[in-house]
């Protein structure tokens, strides 16, 4: 397996009226070809910013990004244009991610026109219909406008647009969270099929833990811009180590009778990482926090083979 994407110590800070927002604060990750890395976290944890920074939709503050072994951190405009087709994005909101004034055909054909992939009109038409077929859109919808279609079909348009340039890597930013469950399952299956058929690699951003478990090979848990836990999906769900990951997983309502009566209530609220204080960012909500947690930032290190956690007391908490 070769590594398709590698990110080293990526940071993205925003200036806000209240101070510097550390949206992404030192994230490193690696995704193998044809694998899916799930990024989970609650709102404001920086997961969307991470995805957008990786595909150069937002300029990074510092850090390095490698794509197929090449350093693309400080890529120039022309090279970025050449790289774009390889890295695409699927957006969260199937309503706002489509131009309401463009038909299905226009939306799917736009990337092909901009990048001069198909200059011949009949070939272009053929390719668009091919893409519509791949994502399961019937060809008689070509002239429809987004407002005439339901959420599931709209999201299929978004997927077709992302696939048009035959990308190797797709950042999926909450692609199913705006959809109804029955439609969500259809889109998840579609994305899995596409991965198998086209050899795609995904960075799958979501707040939904059941979805991330279902689709990911590896999972990265983020909290206030920081990496909290990073391991394989199976390992995370079997043997999670960080107190935040534990609380997060315990909070998910399970659709089974009597599945859970114990509530591990996490006190407090998520604040945003504006001018963050030193120490562990989870300390104020953590039941295990000690003085050290409030002064010294925990290192993100391997606790067992391939299982990384950022917590001073991970061994004590888990009796390792």
């Amino acid at each position: 397996m070769s590594t398709l994407l590698e990110v080293k110590n990526l940071k993205k800070h925003f200036k806000t009226p209240n101070g510097l927002l550390h949206a992404v604060d030192g994230v490193s990750l690696k995704i193998e070809t044809q694998k899916t890395l799930g990024v989970v976290g609650e709102s404001g944890c920086g997961k969307s910013t991470l995805g957008r920074t990786i595909v150069h939709l937002l300029p990074k503050t510092s850090g390095e990004i490698y794509f197929e072994g090449n350093d693309i951190t400080n890529i120039n405009k022309a090279d970025l244009k050449a790289l774009r087709p390889n890295m695409q994005m699927i957006f969260q909101d199937p309503y706002s991610s489509l131009n309401p004034r463009m038909s299905v055909f226009q939306t799917i054909s736009e990337p092909l026109i901009i990048n001069r992939v198909e200059t011949d009109r009949s070939k272009l038409t053929k390719r668009v219909f091919e893409l519509m077929d791949i994502v399961g859109l019937s060809s008689d919808l070509a002239n429809s406008f987004p407002h005439e279609l339901d959420g599931g079909r709209r999201q299929r348009i978004g997927v077709a647009r992302a696939l048009a340039l035959k990308p190797k890597f797709i950042v999926c930013d909450e692609p199913v969270s705006a959809l109804d469950v029955s439609i969500q399952a259809q889109i998840l299956n579609l994305m899995q099929d596409l991965q198998d058929e086209l050899g795609l690699t995904y960075l799958f951003i979501t707040h939904d833990l059941s979805v991330v478990k279902h689709i990911s090979d590896d999972i990265l848990v983020m909290y206030m811009g920081k990496m909290v836990e990073y391991t394989s999906s199976a390992q995370l769900f079997k043997n999670r180590l960080h107190p935040y990951t534990k609380a997060l997983l315990a909070a998910v309502p399970i659709a089974e009778v009597g599945a859970k009566k114990e509530r591990s209530l996490l006190k407090g609220e998520i604040s945003s990482p504006v001018n963050p204080k030193p120490g562990c960012r989870f300390a104020s909500r953590c039941a295990h926090a000690k003085d050290k947690c409030r002064t010294e930032e925990p290192l993100f290190e391997a606790v067992t083979e391939g299982h990384y956690v950022a917590c001073h007391y991970v061994k004590e908490i888990n009796q390792l």
Binding site: R52, V55, L57, K81, R84, P85, Q88, M89, F91, Q92, D93, S96, S97, L98, N99, P100, R101, M102, S103, F105, E110, P111, I114, N115, T125, K126, F129, S138, S139, D140, A142, N143, S144, F145, H147, E148, G158, R161, A164, L165
Partner: protein, 291 residues
């Protein structure tokens, strides 16, 4: 082989069709549209429709009251007021259309640039607009017209430039709300450049308010042009223009009511028609605005 049977339409149809259906259900808007169409037709066919020429003087027939021969009476030179109003619609509509084209064109470009790029560009453009807004519209138009000198073309320019700020602000606001939409990000992620994003993705989505504003401001432009002509800065005699007709007739208002009444009614009904139509357009293009 359903692929072959689907013909690709190149431009928008769905949304516009819905809007037209809504528009035609609005009776007030249709009334406005009918008046506008009648005005346009009479302006085009003025030579055929009007019984006299606009500059045909007959000093023996000064100040004739409305009659079967002169529907709206005659003025101080014995010219037929009905004919002059018909010819005047040419001037008024032309002034309205062209000055609105000028203002909406410049305003849209400035607003789009300002809203899309933000920061310093936005600051410079918007302060410029603020300065323009600080001067009352008509005063600005008067000073521009006074600088350029009287004449119909200068009136168009003056009225056009004086209403640029409204468009710039309107377009800037909608561009700013659109700028952060995901489809703009999506366009960027497939490699679209700024020009394409503004022209293909942003502007088509703020057309509705621009169209509405344009329709409404045709009325204002006609009024402004009339006001300029009234002040003597606009159309020069003997050319017929509603504002100058009012202005020339005001001396005789006590004795010969028809000299000012009919040009006044013409201006009023035209403005009224454009406002009705503009209101209807707004409701049709953006049904959410109407509860």
């Amino acid at each position: 082989m359903s692929e072959k049977t689907v013909a690709i339409k190149s431009r928008n149809s769905g949304m516009m069709r819905d809007a037209l259906v809504r528009l035609f259900r609005n009776k007030a808007a249709i009334l406005g549209l009918i008046i506008i169409v009648v005005l346009i037709l009479s302006a085009i066919f003025a030579d055929i429709v009007s019984p006299f020429s606009y500059d045909e003087q007959d000093l023996r027939q000064r100040f004739l009251a409305p009659s079967a021969e002169h529907f709206f009476g005659t003025d101080e030179y014995g010219r037929d007021i009905f004919s002059r109003i018909i010819y005047g619609s040419r001037t008024s509509l032309l002034v309205g259309a062209i000055s609105v084209t000028i203002s909406s064109g410049i305003g849209t470009i400035l607003g789009a640039i300002s809203g899309y790029y933000g920061n310093r560009v936005d600051n410079i453009i918007m302060r410029l607009i603020d300065v323009m807004l600080a001067i009352p519209n008509i005063l600005l138009a008067i000073s521009i017209a006074a600088t350029l000198g009287p004449g119909i073309v200068n009136v168009m320019i003056a009225v056009g430039i004086s209403s640029v700020p409204g468009y710039a602000r309107l377009v800037r606001a909608s561009v700013m709300s659109l700028r952060d939409q995901e489809f703009i990000e999506a366009a960027r992620s497939i490699g679209a450049n700024d020009a394409r994003i503004i022209l293909r993705h942003i502007l088509p989505n703020c057309m509705a308010p621009i169209i509405v504003q344009a329709t409404m401001s045709i009325a204002i432009a006609i009024l402004s042009a009339a006001a300029l002509s009234f002040l003597g800065l606009g159309v020069q005699p003997p050319m017929a223009e509603w504002g100058s007709m009012l202005s020339n007739g005001r001396a005789y208002i006590r004795d010969y009511w028809w000299v000012v009444t009919f040009p006044g009614v013409a201006i009023m009904s035209t403005v009224f028609a454009f406002n009705l139509f503009g209101d209807g357009l707004r409701d049709a293009l953006d049904p959410r605005l109407k509860q």
